[in-house]
Each structure stands twice: as C-alpha cells, then as structure tokens.
C-alpha cells in the first residue's frame, strides 16, 4: 500500500533514542521515571526534550520504580496519557503495581529494556525480567530494531487505549538499546492523525465523583477478571489494526507475528526480540543453499496469539524455539508458551526448545544454522536444552 504524503525525517538513532523520539511524538501528559542502566538514555533524552520545551509533559522523578509505577497508575486513573521506562531490577520492583495497573485498567505504556536480573549483577540482554511479568495482565510486545521500537511506542497507545489494558514494549539491552541505525522519524502531523486525544470514560474527576479500586465481594472480583479476559481477547485484533493503520501511513506495517520466508518451510525458527535479526540472517543463508527454513517472529507475547501461531506452524515439520531467558525448573518461557499454544493440534510440528544466549552470550547466525541442522536429527524433549 502507498504511504500517505507525510514527510518523515531520517535520523541515526540508538534503540533508546528511537523510543524517546516516539515519546516526543506521542507527547504523553505525565511521565514518572527512575533511572537504571541500560534504560537511562530514554530518560535523559525525554528530559532533554522536555527541558528544551519540545515536549510538553509533566516529568516526575520519584525515589524508586515502585513509586514511579504508582504515580503512573493514579495519573492514568485521572485521565492522563502516561509513559514510563525501566529495566530489570526496576521492572521487578514494580511487580506489585504491575498487577495493580491491569486491575485498575490503566492504559499506561511502558518501555522495558531487557536485562538480566540480579543476583549476581549483570547488565546483559536477557528477556527474563519482562517474561517473568507475564501473569500481571500487561500486553507485551517485543521489538527487534530501533525503528520497530519507535513505531511500536506510538502504536502501543492506540492498542492500550482501545482495550483498556497497560502495555509493555521490550527491546534487548545493548543489542537494540544502544546500537545505532537510520530510523525514519514520522512527522508530528502523522502521529496526530494516527493517535487522537485520549478521552477515558472513567476517571478521577471532581465533576464525575467516581472512585476506584475499593474492596469488592468474591463475585465482583471474579467478574473483574472476566472483564480483563474479554479485553485480552480483543488485543490481537487491536494489534493488527494498529499495525495496519500504521502501515498505511508509513509503509511499515506490523502484526502480532511476523512470518519471514515461511513459504513451504520445513523447519521454522521461533524467537523474539533482537535474536530475530540473527535468525533472519541464518534463514537467508540456508534458503540460499536451497533449504526450506523460515522464521516466525513473535511480536505480541501477551496475550499469546495462539490461534495465529497454530495457523503459522500448520504443515511445518520441525520448529525450533530460541529462548533468551531461563525459567529455573521449566526451561525457556517462549518454549513453554508455544507448547501450550500447539496443544492437541493435529500434525503439530516437532517442537524443540533451546536456551540460547542466556545472560547475553552471543548467538551467531552460523550457530543458529547449526542448531537447525542438529534438530532435524534428534527427537524433541519436553524440556528445553542448553545451547553450548
């Protein structure tokens, strides 16, 4: 589809600065933030935009991430459009309030830079921090590149506000957060057209007099979860709609999954985040040699687009899930999720789970090709295997 005629600006940006540009274009009302490596360039860039008068936004710098998220929730409940960013320990410290944000149906957008949790201390790319939040009721999207991070921040507001759920986008520490690439920065007019002002129906408002979050009986609590489930059921379509509308304006369309060279694929690599870039290279090399290998990139992780995953993997003989995270006791989280998504599917692919790049160790395109070769020979096991 042809893009509408909005000028864009091509800038050389790191992943984190691309996020900050996305925030500048959205111009949220309130942003409570707390610094943590490797998120700080997002914080410092939006602070710079704000102090130079280019971003009219209430910026709060509380004493901790716990308070940052608490302020996000109450600001959102007051009807503000809200942004925050964090990583690793910061996200983990927010955990209590992540549940709260979902229950309060606050359409906050948060950017998380995936980094190993302590102990021991490390600063390396690993998706455990955000994947460990999978039961908190946040929509979760994973980004592969600085461009995708910028585009997804903007789309995330449309998605979050459409369904009334908080949304978290993650990209990998350093591989994406600190690596530079040319990024198309759309115009303010384009973003204004894509993202009209937010008018929440319920809010803390002296005119309305509504209160939030008071204690309820069992049946009402139960109903609140069913409401969340109903909202979750709308997310995949909302992600598709936002991604397509974005594509019409920018020629860069997105969806819950991305299928790369999946035509007639016998073996499919399934992964998320920056690993997708390396897997793309591996797929190209193998296709070059005439091998029918494809890539299935999971962009929307929560809610898991189970139906779309089943369709994408129908007829594939072997799938290889690469997890850059380790859930002690049950292996890779994406592997667990894909296993459950394919439950009782007739003709499901043989599914291999591989713990690759845990703690940020490098996984090369050559390594991925070798993993594809190896998996053809062996029977898959229920537990994921460590990649040496």
């Amino acid at each position: 589809m042809e893009a509408k005629n909005y000028p864009s600006n091509r800038l050389l940006l790191s992943g984190n600065h691309a996020v900050a540009w996305g925030v500048k274009l959205v111009c949220p009302d309130v942003a409570p933030v707390y610094p943590i490596t490797p998120q700080t360039p997002i914080l410092e860039k939006i602070t710079e935009f704000q102090s130079q008068g280019e971003l009219d936004m209430e910026l709060l710098t509380p004493e901790s991430e716990h308070s940052a998220m608490a302020a996000c929730i109450s600001a959102s409940a007051t009807g503000a459009r809200v942004f925050t960013a964090t990583s690793s320990q910061g996200l983990l410290l927010m955990h209590e309030l992540l549940h709260y944000a979902c229950g309060a149906r606050a359409p906050i957008v948060m950017f998380n830079v995936n980094r190993t949790p302590a102990s021991p201390w490390g600063f390396w790319p690993d998706q455990l921090d955000s994947l460990a939040q999978r039961d908190t009721g946040w929509i979760q999207l994973y980004s592969e590149t600085p461009q995708e991070s910028l585009d997804t921040v903007i789309q995330a507001y449309r998605i979050a506000e459409a369904v009334g759920l908080p949304t978290m986008i993650s990209h990998d520490a350093f591989y994406v957060s600190h690596s530079m690439e040319p990024v198309e920065v759309p115009s303010q007019d384009l973003v204004r057209e894509f993202l009209p002002r937010f008018e929440p129906r319920y809010r803390l408002d002296t005119e309305l007099g509504q209160s939030f979050g008071a204690p309820i009986d069992q049946a009402t609590w139960n109903r609140s979860r069913r409401d969340i489930a109903a909202a979750m059921a709308l997310v995949a379509d909302a992600v598709t709609a936002a991604g397509e509308a974005w594509g019409e304006l920018t020629s860069r369309a997105y969806g819950p999954l991305e299928q790369y060279r999946m035509e007639e694929a016998e073996v499919v690599i399934v992964t998320m985040g920056s690993m997708s870039g390396t897997a793309r290279e591996a797929v190209d090399a193998m296709r070059e040699r005439g091998e029918a290998v494809g890539l299935l990139k999971v962009r929307l992780f929560r809610p898991l687009p189970a139906e779309a995953l089943r369709q994408a993997l129908a007829g594939v003989s072997c799938a290889l899930v690469l997890d850059r995270n380790y859930s002690p006791g049950m292996g890779g989280i994406l592997h667990q999720e894909i296993k459950s998504a394919l439950f009782a599917m007739s003709g499901a692919p043989r599914l291999h789970g591989l713990l690759a790049g845990i703690g940020g160790v490098n996984v090369s395109a050559e390594k991925i090709q070798q993993l594809v070769d190896d998996c053809r020979e062996v029977e898959p096991s229920v537990e994921a295997q460590w990649v040496e």
């Binding site: 943590i36 700080t40 914080l43 410092e44 102090s51 710098t61 004493e63 410290l93």
Partner: protein, 291 residues
C-alpha cells in the same frame, strides 16, 4: 599538612576500578581499615559496589554481600541478626550505600532499621547523584546543580537527611569528608564502639558527576567543609550536636567555582546558596550550644 593517622591492615586492596582520582576509594580504604578484619559488609548498587570489585576480583579483604538498591539497611539487618544467632555480637556489620540508595529508594529500609535501632554501621557515600547510572539527580543533589535529569539545574534543595535520622534518636549520626581523614577515622572508631544504628555520611566530590578536575576532589571536599556547605559534625542520640570544625574560612563561591555542575549559576543564585548555608550554619551553632 595533617598526617593521616590510622592503622592500615591492607583490608582495601589496590586494583579497584573507581575513576582515577576518586576519593570514594580513598574513603573506603580508611573506613575498612579502621573497622578492621572482624566485619562483614553489604553494598548496594553504586560506585561503592563497583569499587568493591567485579567477579572474579575483590578489592576488599572482608566479606561483602552485594544487595539490591532499595534494601541496604534491611540487608545489613539480616546479616547482623544471623551473626547474633551464631553468637558473634562483636562483628561489625557495615552497610555501604550511595546517596540514591540512602536518601531515595533505600530510605524506607533505613528508617525502619533505625527505628529498630539495628546494630549496624551505615556509611553513605554521598556524591549527590546517581553516578553509577551516568549522573542523574537524587534527593541529595543540591539546589541548582546540573545533572542528567536536571539539565537546567535542580529546582529544589538537598534533602536534610541528618535531621530525618536525628528524629529516629539513633546513637550516632556524623558527617565526614575525605579532606579530613583523621576525623573520618575517629568517627568510624567511635561508631564501632557503640551499639545500635550509626550513620556516617561521607561527602564524595565526583569527578565526572560534578565536573571536578581529576586532581581536585580532595580540594573540593576541603572547600565544602571550610565554606560550611558540608560542615563536619555529630549528632548523638538525636539531640546532642557537636561541631567538629568551628570556623568557616571560605566563601561558598570558592567551593561552587570548582565544579562544572554550577557553571551556569548567576550571581543571585550564588548569593541565595550562600544565604542558605549561612542560615544552616547558624542553626547548627544553635543546636551545638544546646539550644
């Protein structure tokens, strides 16, 4: 020139990875050696944690536990209670934390430990900002100072943590400066002999964070003391104040002028800071005179 007079048992080793010229490493050396071998430390993420060393190296000869940013005083409490349960009441438990880990995210844990009067020696290396993450403001950052998150200068004053701690009526709160190492060692010695929560706040002029020349950290710290910006004093049981330096011999401007973070200040702003320092000095004199 004052001779540094403390017993160096080499509990702090060379090869640490602080910035060259950092006085936090110097302070750590004096503090660890004054406390001695019978000590366990917990350190929260900060320059102090970096100085303690990255695996497989360690700059300290005492055991160090690396805890999380918000939990310093709680972590120290746990170590102390475990040692008590093992019949080792005399082992000093040190909590090493930055100002972010003390004034901000760790304040709740510190207040709770102080209220319980846990037997710990809490050292706050106060470099007036989050330096480990590249220099953002903390609530210890002074008025008008430029940081990564206050590009136009901070609009509020430094939090008066000493008064907050005094309200907990703990046995000892003291300030210390790397320009006055004997005073620092004496305070550590005194704290070590007391039971209960002791807090020493050490001013650390940070080379990149404050825009101070590589060889000027000690000088800057000395000017902070001599101008009265950072007076050396002690508060015992929350009420007994002792000023360790009774004269101010420098203007506040001589201190501010050392630092890039204040380069943008107008004459009026300097005057306002001088007036703040004067008022605080008067208040301290009044407290020290027993009111």
């Amino acid at each position: 020139m004052e001779l540094i007079n403390y017993n160096d048992e080499e509990l702090f080793q060379p090869g640490h990875v602080a910035c060259a010229g950092c006085v936090e490493a110097l302070s750590m050396r004096v503090i660890l050696n004054t406390v001695g071998r019978d000590a366990v430390a917990t350190v929260s993420p900060s320059c102090g944690a970096v100085i303690c060393g990255a695996y497989p190296f360690s700059a300290t000869k005492i055991p160090v536990f690396h805890t999380t940013l918000e939990s310093g005083a709680a972590s120290a409490s746990g170590i102390k209670r475990a040692l008590l349960s093992q019949g080792k009441p005399d082992t000093t438990v040190l909590c090493l934390a930055g100002d972010g880990g003390t004034y901000d995210i760790g304040l709740q844990a510190l207040s709770s430990a102080a209220e319980r009067n846990e037997d710990i020696l809490y050292i706050c290396f106060d470099n007036e900002g989050y330096m480990n993450t590249g220099g953002q403001k903390s609530s210890s950052t002074p008025l008008a100072a430029v940081t990564g998150s206050t590009p136009a200068g901070k609009t509020t004053r430094k939090k008066n943590l000493i008064e907050i701690l005094a309200a907990h009526r703990i046995p000892l709160i003291a300030t210390a400066s790397p320009s006055h190492l004997n005073d620092m060692a004496a305070k550590v010695e005194k704290a070590k002999a007391l039971r209960g929560t002791k807090v020493i706040i050490v001013l650390i002029p940070c080379l990149p964070g404050w825009g101070v020349a590589d060889n000027a950290a000690v000088k800057t710290a000395r000017l902070a003391v001599e101008s009265g910006v950072f007076p050396l004093f002690e508060v015992e049981d929350g009420v007994h104040y002792t000023l360790n330096t009774e004269q101010r011999t420098q203007s506040v401007n001589s201190y501010l002028a050392q630092q890039g973070r204040y380069r943008h200040l107008s004459a009026e702003q300097v005057e306002q800071i001088q007036a703040d320092v004067d008022a605080e000095w008067q208040r301290l004199l009044w407290c020290a005179a027993g009111r």
